[in-house]
Symmetry: C2
Subunit: 258 residues, 2 copies
């Protein structure tokens, strides 16, 4: 069954998908001061890759990105943000060994001039999710679909390490100009919790006083008349997002300088 | 001669260029509080378009963007920044009238199924230049190559109005995170001059005190011991960019909140 699917994809994909174009997704996962990225391991190999795929003839790019992510990892309803298109000639050249590997999975010879061997330009998308709340699953091309710490990413196929680096840069730029945190933090959170989120993504220390002041003055978060008890004499106030102002800031942009 | 070039491009371009992919360039021009955009008018028509073209099989995307801009407008050595890829199905459909128009230019029938009629995904690049210092020239496909005020852009072909809007958004985001102005202002400039540049691009008022304070505190501009005489009792101090700090900020990013 799996062999048949792969063979059909190689033999007939050229009638179904745009040639020369692919999409790769960089899915960041945040949980308690840890930032990770979601990677797939190719079937019967040690090769790690980003979840990626091709664009159907009648699909928008955003639709293709969402479908590819779901097909390859099981994740859905993430907000995918296009960030850069990668097109160095030779960035994704498949080798004779890759073809031999495909043949071994298919248990059949694959055509030497199939469409996947053409030069491919890849459109990069990224998203951020709370990784303890999702359960990614490998697809039929992969053995594993797992989270890897952003500081210990293995060597990836093609130019995928570069794609991750650029996605991280884009995410770090984005959080200075758009709010982040909704869906990444509990509905009611403490200031240290949102502080940790920003520090972890930016990988740098932010001022303990200016940081929350800025978010409060923009009206993105508001203080609740409620505390969380986390030990003897320790009961920090809780905060929540002002969803209306958050959405407005998401649409119109903000400028955060902590 | 021109007809032959166009016919050859239609008949043989599919062997020279990546299918399904194009590049469009949004060239902003700044001069004394005015922000304009560079547009081409198709030969023998009233259709306005962005300078655009296709990617050769062995070119990088950045190389293709630079070549296309030079071929179509004569401009060179601009820093072109990739900002977004546009791929709605049907975004660039050529109509029967477009084909008839091509035939009228070529004075010969063109094949009804040529490669340019396929769905095309376009990679957008933008740049900003001082428009009084460059002299754009239309290419063989165009009658005109001229600057248009950003607030009076005509209806453009395909989704090119959307591409201009998105480029402007990207430029406005960029100037909060990277310095701008080198090559757009005289070597020595007054504070009102750099203030006007930022206000014109952002299309909003910036605080007269905080704005220069911020640029000075980041070290991007420095005050000279020199004044410019612009009338009786009016001789504002001159400033210049600190090129080392400017380049560092360009590379590492800054956060401007005026």
């Amino acid at each position: 069954m799996i062999q048949k699917e792969i063979l059909d994809f190689i033999r007939n994909g050229d009638k179904k998908f745009l040639h020369h174009l692919s999409i790769d997704c960089v899915i960041f996962g945040y949980h308690e001061r840890q930032l990770k990225v979601l990677l797939l391991k190719w079937k019967n190999s040690n090769k790690w890759t980003l979840p990626g795929g091709f664009i159907k003839l009648d699909e928008t790019l955003d639709e293709a990105a969402a479908r590819i992510l779901t097909e390859r990892t099981g994740l859905s309803e993430l907000f995918l943000q296009q960030f850069h298109t990668f097109g160095e000639p030779g960035r994704s050249e498949r080798t004779a060994a890759d073809i031999a590997h495909l043949e071994s999975i298919c248990k059949a010879p694959v055509p030497k001039d199939h469409w996947l061997l053409k030069r491919t330009v890849s459109i990069g998308y990224y998203s951020v999710t709370e990784y303890s709340q999702v359960n990614p699953q490998p697809d039929f091309l992969s053995d594993e679909c797992t989270w890897h710490d952003i500081k210990a990413i293995p060597k990836l196929v093609f130019d995928h390490n570069l794609i991750v680096d650029e996605a991280l840069k884009a995410l770090r730029m984005q959080i200075y100009l758009q709010p982040i945190g909704y869906n990444l933090l509990p509905t009611k959170f403490t200031l240290p919790e949102i502080h940790n989120l920003y520090e972890t993504i930016l990988d740098k220390e932010l001022d303990r006083r200016n940081f929350p002041k800025k978010l409060l003055s923009l009206g993105i978060i508001k203080k609740l008349d409620e505390q969380r008890s986390i030990g003897a004499h320790r009961s920090p106030y809780l905060y929540k997002f002002d969803k209306r102002k958050y959405d407005k800031a998401l649409k119109e942009g903000i400028v955060l300088a902590f």
